[in-house]
Amino acid sequence: MRRRSWLVAAAVLFMLAAVVMLYGQGEVVPAPATVEVEFPRQLRPAEQERLQSRRTLRPVPSVDMATQGRRPPQPRDPVLAALPQGRGRTAVVLEANALRHSPVGALLLECINRQGNQGLERMRQELGVNPLEDFDRVVVTPEGMMVSGHFQEARWDSLLRDASSRSYGDKGRIFEQPARRRSLPDGTVQESRAHVMGVWDEQLVMFGESVTEVQQAFDRLEGRAAADNPAIREEQTFGDIYGVLSPEDLARLVPRQQAELVEQLRQVGAQVELHVDARSDLGMVAHVTGTDPRKLQDVGKAMGGALALGRLDAQVKGDERLASVLEFARVQPGLASFNLEMALPLSFLEEQLAFCRKQPDAGGP
């Protein structure tokens, strides 16, 4: 009898084991937890096509070219042609339409809708422009902003009501609102800055503070000024956000705690080409070049170390979110440059913007 009890015990133990393991593993196929980030490192086929389709600006061939039998210049992308010229400048392009239809865009739209999209609605009604549908690209430069898109229905006069407007060149129109001074009830004087807006061919709108810059952009678009060395070249137009940062602007973006790194970046004259992919998880590549390749390698190492230390610091402080984001950060050294790659998983953004999915009265920021 006692011997048989071993068998009974075995049967009970096997049963228990099965139950406990079933509880532990479940019957549902676990979803893969890996994050697949696509880092934009070069022009991809879809971006090649996009690039081709944007070559709509046909430069007027000069008389010299015709007499010398030279081939007329190739059609160009008007947005790139309008950009400031030369290397070492800052210009960042946001592919507004692509971003709007990306998962990140959908998240942001939820946030806009949650806060009430009166601003967008007002733009639609008063200005005749729907930013969500009519904007194609938004370019940000230190001098101002430029938006490309479809603005045939736009009523620009209603944006700057008391601005003077005049035509410039073949297809340009400039709206100018001078700086104004206003006395406040407390006796102080408030001064508003001058606003300049340029509209070209109902497809490009530029905002800035200087009429000269808008005029120069129109000149480049209409062939009166050279536009063969734009701040962003065609082959750099990959990703959903892309652009270039000057050494000064780059140094301004690095946190003040990293003063040594800022100094190193200045010494090597570092310039950054930035590319962000938002088709699924956010993948960011910053291609850093400089005047001294050897020193640049040291900067890359220092940057990798700073990221590792930042992650460690976040872990120590219990900031798991920051730590998990910095986990994807890495520096890829090249021969005379290096790439800084970072990723922002969509799940992370969803978590951060979760409040946008709640009802406004459910509490949240």
Binding site: A10, F14, G24
Partner: protein
């Protein structure tokens, strides 16, 4: 408890005289020494700036050292887990049959020991041997990475402990099988079969959806429900080694299930040992 430990000690003494055991420890030591000589890691402010194995650049991108070394830790955990199980099955398959060898079993039964203590002690001795091997390898790797890269992680040691627990369940089946048929080959075959079934059982949820709904799927689920989830534990050990997220309640349940399964197999062995006429 003391009789159990005494028997286990005797098993360890016997194991120390075997070439298999010597080969195991020399092999682990050799791999660790080779790694310490050939693996060069350049670490800067907690970031791995470069790594070379036998002078060949493994990776050139600069990232946090624990993130950069995750693949190495993962591969090591798999090696420790499956390598340890495989080696343990082969190296320990004849301990059971030797226990029952004519002449020896009579001597053992004449000692003031209960039969279950004899069996339990043998099991404990072999398990301690396997665990010591896994812990030796994983602790060596931890020390190596700590000294070379400043990465001090208990991950590989935890992975080794998981492998040890899993081996206990498999060896319980092997030892019990030896009590039915005194054959080292059969014992090893059963151990290997359990390992294979355990790998399948670990992925039972994924495999079962590939089967036609109905009897075949039900039968597959019913049969694999009893088997220790070896591959699930292997994956958990890799996650632990790489300091990745692990679902702890699930892991504890799987571990408890494996331990209960091993105890059940041993209970069958004890029943057979008590019944047997040696």
């Amino acid at each position: 408890m003391r009789p159990l430990l005494e028997v286990a000690w005797q098993v360890l003494v016997e194991a120390a005289q075997r070439k298999w055991t010597l080969a195991l420890f020399l092999g682990i030591t050799g791999v660790l020494v080779l790694l310490s000589w050939s693996l060069q890691l350049e670490v800067l402010d907690g970031a791995l700036a470069a790594s070379r194995l036998f002078g060949v650049v493994l990776r050139s991108d600069i990232r946090a050292v624990d993130v950069a070394l995750r693949p190495l830790l993962s591969v090591s955990a798999y090696l420790i887990f499956y390598g340890g199980l495989g080696f343990g099955i082969i190296a320990c398959c004849d301990f059971g049959p030797n226990l029952l060898a004519p002449g020896r079993i009579e001597h053992l039964l004449s000692l003031p020991l209960r039969r279950w203590q004899l069996l339990g002690g043998t099991f404990l001795g072999v398990w301690m041997l396997a665990l010591a091997g896994a812990l030796y390898g994983s602790a060596g790797l931890t020390l190596l990475l700590g000294l070379k890269a400043g990465l001090w992680t208990v991950g590989p040691v935890l992975a080794a402990l998981l492998a040890g627990v899993t081996f206990a369940a498999i060896y319980a089946v092997m030892l019990t099988a030896a009590l039915f048929v005194r054959s080292a080959a059969l014992s090893a075959a059963l151990g290997s079969g359990m390992l294979l079934l355990g790998i399948i059982a670990g992925y039972r949820a994924q495999i079962s959806v590939l089967l036609e709904p109905g009897f075949s799927r039900m039968a597959f689920r019913a049969m694999t429900a009893l088997i220790p989830r070896v591959s699930a534990l292997a994956d958990a050990s890799v996650a632990l080694a790489a300091s990745s997220a692990v679902e702890l309640p699930s892991l504890w349940s799987l571990l408890a299930g494996v331990v209960l399964f091993g105890m059940g197999a041993l209970a069958v062995g004890v029943w057979r040992f008590e019944e047997g006429d040696f």
